[in-house]
């Protein structure tokens, strides 16, 4: 059943330019979301073997609780973005939806596969769709952003391919579970790991691989900025987590990720303060929040990894909410410059409330979802070193500085721009849904924490993964 989720997206990508109907890609994306809901509700490891070849000889997709959760988020966000885009995108819609379907297929493939080369292929499908979508507006900024992405992206892909080639040379297999059984404490394996981490760090927005991101995310259409800053960054982090814990089986504290995480969250936060372009500011915020996730992951404890996964989920929800809300503001006013905006709280009260919820959540204020995951990060870092907790709290203060500035500049003060049109319901509904989810998770975090705990156990239990795929311990 799982393979139909991606098949539907690929078929829709080819049918959309032929029939030029929005309904085909939207139906395909929602169909894939429903399949992922069904897989998620099964609650057990699902293995799809292609062409009847048992792993490690054939390509296999392996879906445990962690990537089922990620797949659910990918298709869920893509569904909301597809609905939002029915009104946001005014021209060349079929081209847009074709690329959106390919992007979703790439994201889902990277998430579900248990084969490193298959992952690379889906990663390339994702990247190529992203290049097209970033350049979609075809203005000077968009072309420049896409060009930077097209030059840097293949460099990252070559690092990934080099890492995969080294792993294949060392182990003679491409299956993740099989590789995991053959990993040895050898510098050659570490170098392969380094190439893979460096390659996927480009998508994960980790300093110093983040430079392209604030130039690229803001120039894309707002729904695509939402996808790039939430699920695309999230998938990069997912892959690194999968490699670290499932394939290479690292345990204990990992200072490399802690150092990268701290530098990323501090630098991203500080530079965000100076931004006047709303989308660029949110993009830098994405860099900063990725740092939090890597910091928590680097702790290597159960609580740290759970906090990292929870913050990853929250970052996906909140970044989508903020970019989609900012997209409504840009759709109405035609500008991303906060110097030119102001007083929109009276004209767009629902958007202001939703943007406010997203801002307070990512700052980490209760009772919102961002607080729940940041609190877990504080607790997890406190166990290792209170200095790490202090840095995390200070960066939350920095986050408050730039989000309060953004809210004040856009929604408060005197009104400078007249708004004539009403916000279309198709654009408003996804924003309200995401804001409601943020509030609900904030009030009832236990419901999500159960899922996070299962995902954490699935990620850290390397033996269970290997046994499920290969049938041996």
């Amino acid at each position: 059943m799982l393979e139909y989720a991606i098949a539907a997206l690929l078929v829709a990508a080819f049918l959309t330019p032929v029939f030029k109907k929005d309904l085909i890609p939207i139906a395909a994306i929602i169909f894939s979301f429903l399949i992922l809901v069904a897989v998620f509700l099964q609650g057990q490891i699902v293995i799809v073997k292609f062409s009847g070849w048992a792993p490690p000889f054939g390509i296999a997709w392996v879906v445990d609780r962690f990537n089922a959760l990620m797949g659910l988020l990918v298709t869920g966000m893509a569904s909301l973005v597809a609905i939002y885009s029915t009104r946001y995108v005014r021209e060349r819609k079929s081209r847009f939806y074709t690329l959106l379907c390919l992007m979703t297929a790439g994201l889902l493939g990277v998430t579900l596969t248990g084969d490193v080369f298959n992952m690379y292929v889906f990663f390339e499908i994702l990247s190529i769709a992203c290049y097209g979508l970033v350049a979609f507006n075809t203005d000077r900024e968009a072309i420049e952003g896409a060009l930077k992405y097209i030059v840097l992206g293949p460099l990252a892909s070559s690092f990934i391919l080099l890492g995969i080639a080294m792993l294949y040379g060392l182990t003679g297999t491409l299956n993740m579970a099989d590789i995991a059984t053959k990993i040895q404490p050898d510098i050659a394996f570490n170098v392969a790991f380094g190439f893979l981490v460096g390659g996927f760090a480009l998508k994960s927005a980790i300093v110093p691989f983040h430079f392209w991101l604030p130039d690229v995310h803001p120039v894309a259409p707002s729904p695509i900025s939402a996808m790039l800053s939430s699920v695309v960054v999230g998938i990069g982090i997912y892959v690194i987590m999968r490699l670290v814990f499932t394939v290479f089986g690292f345990t204990g504290i990992m200072w490399m990720f802690i150092v990268l995480g701290i530098v990323t969250m501090v630098l991203g936060g500080i530079i965000a303060i100076a931004q006047t372009n709303i989308k660029r500011m949110i993009a830098y915020s994405t860099v900063s929040q990725s740092g939090y996730i890597f910091l928590a992951m680097g702790l290597g404890t159960n609580l740290g990894v759970a906090a990292a996964i929870f913050h990853l989920v929250n970052n996906i929800l909140v970044k989508s909410l903020l970019f989609l809300a900012a997209g409504i503001v840009i759709w109405h006013t035609g500008t991303k410059d906060m110097n030119q905006l102001g007083g929109l709280g009276k004209r767009l009260p629902l958007v202001a409330i939703c943007f406010g919820i997203g801002s307070l959540s990512i700052i980490g204020l209760p009772p919102l979802n961002g607080f729940a995951s940041k609190w877990m990060i504080y607790m997890a870092t406190w166990d290792i070193s209170p200095v790490l907790t202090a840095i995390a709290v200070i960066v939350s203060g920095i986050t408050m500085i730039y989000y309060l500035k953004a809210f004040s500049c856009i929604f408060m003060g005197s009104s400078r721009i007249q708004i004539k049109e009403k916000t279309p319901k198709a654009m408003l509904a996804p924003v309200i849904i995401l804001a409601a989810i943020c509030v609900l998770i904030g009030f009832f975090p236990q419901t999500v924490l159960g899922v996070i705990e299962q995902a954490t156990n699935a990620l850290l239990n390397q033996g269970q993964y290997i046994t499920a795929v290969l049938g041996v311990g």
Binding site: L147, K148, V151, L152, L155, A156, F159, I187, N190, V191, F193, G194, F195, V197, G198, A201, L202, I206, V207, P208, F209, F211, W212, P214, D215, M256, V259, L267, I270, I271, I273, A274, T276, N302, L303, A306, D337, M338, N339, G342, L365, P366, P367, A372, W375, M376, I401, K405, A406, S408, C409, G413, S414, P445, Q446, L449, E453
Partner: protein, 98 residues
């Protein structure tokens, strides 16, 4: 595994909501005289002005050396490539020491 709603968090959330409630109730009942809405600085009327996004947190930006950090984000592709290769070398050195 996680005892989330500890008493401390509940108290924190409770105070936050209480503060919000007090603020909302307070702002609802307050009636200002038209004259009092003028802003005074040292007793002199101060013209109403909007603060643009550029001028927000000037002191914070200066103290955190934001402009210096911004300079490394030059927008030039060759600089970004150099940073990426430097990052890759740094990661390889770090993993070699694992």
């Amino acid at each position: 595994m996680f005892e989330y709603w500890s008493q401390f968090i509940l108290a924190f959330a409770g105070f936050f909501l209480l503060g919000l409630l007090i603020y909302l109730l307070g702002s609802r009942k307050t009636r200002f005289e038209e004259k009092k809405t003028d802003t005074y600085t040292c007793g002199e009327p101060f013209p109403v002005s909007d603060v643009g996004a550029d001028n927000f947190y000037e002191a914070v930006k200066k103290n955190l050396h934001v402009d210096e950090i911004r300079k490394i984000h030059s927008g030039r592709l060759s600089d970004y490539l150099l940073w990426m290769v430097t990052g890759m070398v740094a990661v390889l050195i770090m993993v070699a020491m694992l």
